[in-house]
Symmetry: C2
Subunit: 259 residues, 2 copies
């Protein structure tokens, strides 16, 4: 049952190890693998999985994250699973009566990167689906990770807990700008008000035979609509544009129609 | 099929609306409800759910997040579902050929809070499981949300996508400190090295009959272990403590044993 190839685990994978202690359902192991690979994590370790290993249900639930399952290592004890790691963290939903540093997933991401930058290997322990980690395993950890969510409803499934840890890990190295926008003045128009303007515009453009090449109509209409959507119009601006459309349509009606 | 009670939607729930456009599986609606309530979100809107509504599979998958399902509103079209919202965002995994601001989930959380602080109502559109949002629905949005994950494996299930958006929304108002630690000098000890020290210590303490009250042994041992775990020992420190234990044990052996 010991790890299949200890030499390949921590050195060739850049992220933290994810250690599932006594996971029950193969399906959950599969969805964990999927969440891990979403976040670029490859080092999955299983401590005494209830239904044995390998597990067909894990494969079907992994939705293509086979690379993680194929590398997964199985251990008999938590101690064996973390033996090569310098720093281990334990995920817990409920407070434990222990003196340890407590991290949010975001704080953990920074802490793990700082630790790995010093050349240490890290891993995060996740307990069984219903019961979580036993105190003995939490004890083994340097620190505790708790996800700050709705206190009235904190129950996360295993894959979701892994996803949030992995997401914070992954994005802590991501430089994607958050997106900055100019905010306009005035009372913003609702979607229904903008819809009404666009319908009015489309109607009048059709009456005016604006779209001379019918095959181009969808693309041209989309481009016109997009300008208004993107503009975050105010109620006043919508009213103004409706006036513009109405006025142009009225004026056009008085001109002699072109051939 | 229109919303059951439009007046109660946006005003009494503080967070953004989550709008699922043509969701296929009831189970996924349930896990979305669970993820929403994890993040304190209550305003779920369904556009033409394939298997009708209400849906028993949604209830069982919601794992207790009934409060979200009970308030869910059903609409025939996306336009109806967002009519009362001032600003709508569309989640997409792949780039679209449209000129719109693009947000990460974190950037979106800040953007939505700023928007809501101006008194506007916001919502996030999620497409069907396999196909995602059609262009017409993306068009309807002010901006696009994309989760920056492993480019080699971006497929997220519906509940996971909702969870990441909701998690960023929830934590953007959370003041939990990320956890700050002092970093020591020296080469950190591995877990196995610390284990060996603790086993050595336990052995010698048992031989020395340190635990006079056997019922107290687990708690006392846990407290002793925890000090060493928390200390992030270096290899040198572990070696030093093993020397301490060995020396004390040796010295004790030379004393006449107490009764």
């Amino acid at each position: 049952m010991a790890g299949t190839d200890r030499s390949q685990t921590a050195t060739d994978t850049p992220g933290p190890a994810i250690i599932l202690v006594q996971p029950q359902l193969g399906e959950n192991i599969g969805t964990v693998a999927r969440a891990m690979w979403n976040c670029g994590l490859l080092d999955l370790r299983l401590v005494a999985p209830r239904d044995g290993w390998p597990n067909d249900k894990a494969v079907s639930a992994a939705s293509g994250a086979d690379i993680v399952l194929n590398r997964a290592q199985v251990f008999e004890t938590t101690a064996d699973a973390v033996a090569d790691l310098e720093r281990v963290y334990a995920t817990t939903a409920r407070p434990r009566d222990m003196v340890k540093p407590v991290f949010t997933p975001r704080g953990l991401a920074g802490e793990m990167r700082a630790t790995m930058n010093r050349g240490e290997r890290v891993g995060v322990l996740f307990g069984a689906e219903r019961s979580g980690l036993v105190n003995e395993d939490v004890m083994r950890a340097f620190g505790i990770v708790t996800v700050p969510l709705n206190p009235a409803f904190t129950s996360l499934n295993l894959a979701q807990a892994v996803l949030l840890i992995g997401y914070e890990w992954y994005t802590s190295a991501d430089e994607t700008p958050p997106g900055v926008l100019e905010i306009g003045e005035g009372i913003p128009a609702s979607a229904a008000e903008v819809d009404a303007l666009l319908e009015h515009l489309d109607l009048e453009l059709d009456k005016a035979e604006y779209y001379r090449e019918p095959s181009m109509r969808p693309t041209m209409q989309r481009n016109l609509h997009n300008v208004f959507r993107r503009a975050t119009m105010t109620e006043q601006e919508v009213r103004s544009f409706r006036g513009v459309v109405a006025r142009l349509a009225e004026w056009r009606g008085r001109r002699p129609k072109k051939q």
